[in-house]
């Protein structure tokens, strides 16, 4: 089973990257390194690589920061904590495509509720083409995916698992909230942060669904991700090329994920 469903497709697709592919047949190893050369000089690939890496850096930093902040605040909440935690859980239970379609409506420049509210409160100058302007699409994608793919629940679970006794002891010793955060929360949360950051980095690099639903990679390729580029090339019937992009993409994801995990490990060793 393992051979049929995992090993065979992996080996097949890897060999395909060195081959010429048509619907009728595959000329194995006839392309040599041509597909890889084609990918590296392809402006679309470079555009997609640039978007994917920038997006991942900004989104991971923001999503981790926001989730940590909200989690720490919720850690302190005594009244209505179930309600707030339920709210955080909402993006997880809403079907992801439906959620992004909702944002399409919210961000619609003519009929969307965001621009409507901005105009109503006298901020009409800020009512922009959120998704179809090259200057705003990046920020819009980051914001929308903060909602859809933020690590809210995972970090909150990690925070709630920290023994309360540690905080109580610190307070007895007169520790300020900032010192509690630095010397209790962060060290205790480190294993969770390592796993969640790695998962977030991988998710950021693999961004696809919101692009498929909201922008199709546009405008003018301003939101073209590597994963979406693979999809585009498959739709153009360029399977060998798409597979090559896929393998380069996999190599990047693997390298970045390992680097992220290593960074945390080094820090832990230092500590």
């Amino acid at each position: 089973m393992l051979l049929a469903f995992i090993a065979y497709p992996i080996v097949y697709s890897f060999f395909l990257t060195f081959s010429r592919f048509t619907i009728r047949d595959v000329k194995w190893f006839a392309a040599g390194l041509d597909n890889y050369r084609g990918v590296i000089v392809d402006p679309d690939f470079l555009t997609a690589l640039s978007f994917t890496l920038s997006y991942t850096v900004v989104w991971v930093a923001l999503s981790m920061g926001c989730a940590l902040l909200v989690g720490v605040l919720l850690q302190q909440v005594r009244v209505g904590s179930t309600f707030f935690r339920g709210m955080l859980f909402l993006p997880t239970v809403v079907p992801v495509t439906m959620g992004f379609l909702m944002f399409q409506w919210i961000l619609d420049p003519a009929n969307g509720i965001l621009n409507y509210v901005l105009k109503e409160i006298g901020l009409g100058g800020l009512a922009l083409n959120w998704l179809s302007d090259r200057g705003t699409v990046f920020g819009s994608m980051v914001a929308v995916t903060l909602w859809g793919f933020g690590p809210w629940i995972l970090l909150l679970a990690g925070l709630l698992a920290i023994p309360k006794e540690l905080y109580e002891a610190a307070r007895v010793d007169g520790a300020s909230p900032a010192r509690e955060f630095l010397y209790i929360t962060l060290p205790q949360l480190r294993p969770t942060l390592m796993v969640v950051t790695t998962l977030q980095v991988i998710a950021g690099l693999k961004i696809f669904v919101p692009i498929y639903v909201l922008t199709s990679g546009g405008p003018a390729n301003a939101s073209l991700s590597l994963y979406f580029l693979v999809f585009q090339k498959i739709n153009q019937y360029k399977l060998a090329y798409a597979t090559t992009v896929g393998w380069v993409f996999t190599a990047i994801v693997t390298a970045v994920a390992i680097a992220t995990a290593m960074a945390f490990r080094v820090r832990r060793d230092d500590a």
């Binding site: 009929n111 179809s132 922008t215 405008p219 003018a220 999809f231 498959i234 739709n235």
Partner: protein
């Protein structure tokens, strides 16, 4: 003796004649009855998901099964994406099997590869009688025609047709006095006139609200087709004599530049940069006055606005041509039950409750004149398309790498419209992209 002999022979001849007549009457059933019996067995028809409703597919299947009780038709669906088609083509070519016997949906630009690789069963021997070439609307049929050897000129048949033009909310046009006595949009003679119309609509509050004057098609769905339509209308063809796309076309440059200008002047929106359905949805919401898409939007959007024919069409400035494209019907050569598939396709094409019904409900046009003639004669939108189809028209480009060329056009158009490159750079980029692509077309090798 002679008399007796004559009588005897006469009686014998009469008896012989009676026996002959009786014998003929008792002969096995005629071919018609045989054909009826032969329509039996199982087949699967795979339909592009949106076409299930818009081609009344469930009803067509029910009627077919009722007329042929021994035949069973299984309905499958597939997506309109290249990825979905690639899976289907691979199945045919590499396994010699097909999940479905008959397919509905897919534009010729998406079906170029199976046409080139000869994976489709020609329809040519069915093109007689009610389906003879002159019974079809020429503009739609020619988009499916292939210059192959005799007997393989029709690897696909057009199922539902569409043309590219402008669709305007005439309630809004009346406010700026841009309709004629019949309530139809006044045909603009130039793009400047369309610009003026869009800007006037954008500047005039209509029904107490500010609306978008014009929304073009700047995404993969239609953008390349609006360019080709504009060029065909002005110059008759978008191709060079050697078959490549003529990106240097004067009308093509003018069209690209005009689209940027209408947006820069804030008379038009850019929803379709990222949302293929943005223009349609906006007009259905009453937020956009004029869009530039397929004719079907007129019927569909009028229905959505709850007012019959409130959205009407006008054509591209020029000599009156456009792009006519159609959603194809085809049978893979490896189909298990091609005979039943052909019979079903024939009935579906001829059926009024397929093509004519679809036109009235969704504006997707019949591809047979008989079905077109059954449409209401006084309907302004059907009359407009009829006039349009009688003029010069062309189909979509059909290159092996045609999909990549469509994507290159969209990328460069959007880059130009958002200020990322000049018009000259856009044209140069399109020519460079085209030079790298495989422009093989279906037909004789």
């Amino acid at each position: 003796m002679k008399c007796h002999s004559v009588v005897t022979w006469s009686v014998a001849a009469a008896v012989g004649l009676v026996l002959l007549i009786a014998g003929v009457a008792l002969l096995p059933s005629p071919p018609a009855a045989t054909a009826q019996e032969e329509l039996s067995g199982n087949m699967a028809v795979s339909v592009e998901a949106w076409m299930v409703d818009k081609y009344n597919m469930k009803d067509l299947i029910a009627r077919f099964e009722q007329a042929h009780p021994k035949a069973k038709v299984k309905l499958l669906t597939h997506e309109g994406l290249g990825a979905a088609y690639q899976r289907v083509f691979l199945e045919w070519a590499q396994t010699n099997k097909s999940t479905a016997d008959l397919y509905f949906g897919g534009l010729v630009s998406q079906l170029t590869i199976p046409m080139i690789d000869d994976l489709l069963l020609p329809w040519d021997d069915m093109m007689t009688g009610e389906l003879a070439p002159d019974k079809w609307i020429k503009a739609f049929l020619q988009s499916a025609w292939v210059a192959g050897p005799k007997g393989s000129n029709y690897p696909t048949l057009p199922g539902l047709g569409e043309t590219m033009n402008f669709q305007a909310n005439t309630d809004y046009l009346k406010v700026i006095e841009s309709t004629d006595a019949q309530g139809n949009p006044i045909q603009p003679a130039s793009y400047k006139q369309i610009m003026d119309m869009a800007c006037k609509l954008a500047a005039t509050p209509i029904q107490g609200k500010k609306i978008t004057g014009f929304e073009g098609e700047y995404g993969l769905n239609f953008a390349p087709d609006t360019w080709t339509a504009a060029v065909v209308a002005a110059e008759g063809t978008y191709l060079l004599p050697d078959g490549r796309v003529n990106w240097d076309s004067k009308a093509g440059r003018e069209w690209i530049a005009w689209q940027k200008e209408v947006v820069d002047k804030k008379c038009g929106g850019t929803l379709t940069f990222t949302d293929n359905n943005g223009a349609r949805n906006g007009q259905q919401a009453g937020q956009i006055a004029v869009i530039n898409a397929s004719n079907s939007r007129s019927t569909e959007n009028s229905n959505a606005l709850g007012k019959k024919n409130v959205v009407r069409m006008f054509g591209y400035p020029g000599k009156g041509g456009t792009i006519a494209f159609s959603h194809q019907i085809y049978i893979p050569r490896v189909a298990a039950n091609a005979k039943l598939a052909r019979a079903f396709a024939r009935e579906a094409i001829l059926a009024r409750h397929g093509q004519t019904w679809s036109a009235e409900k969704f504006g997707k046009m019949p591809t047979l004149w008989a079905n077109y003639d059954a449409l209401p004669k006084d309907d302004p939108n059907f009359a407009f398309v009829r006039r349009e189809l009688s003029g010069p028209s062309m189909g979509q480009w059909r290159y092996r790498d045609g999909q990549a060329l469509r994507q290159a056009y969209v990328d460069n158009l959007q880059k130009y419209m958002t200020g990322g490159q000049t018009l000259d750079q856009t044209i140069a980029a399109l020519k460079a992209a085209q030079a790298k692509l495989d422009l093989t077309v279906p037909g004789k090798k």
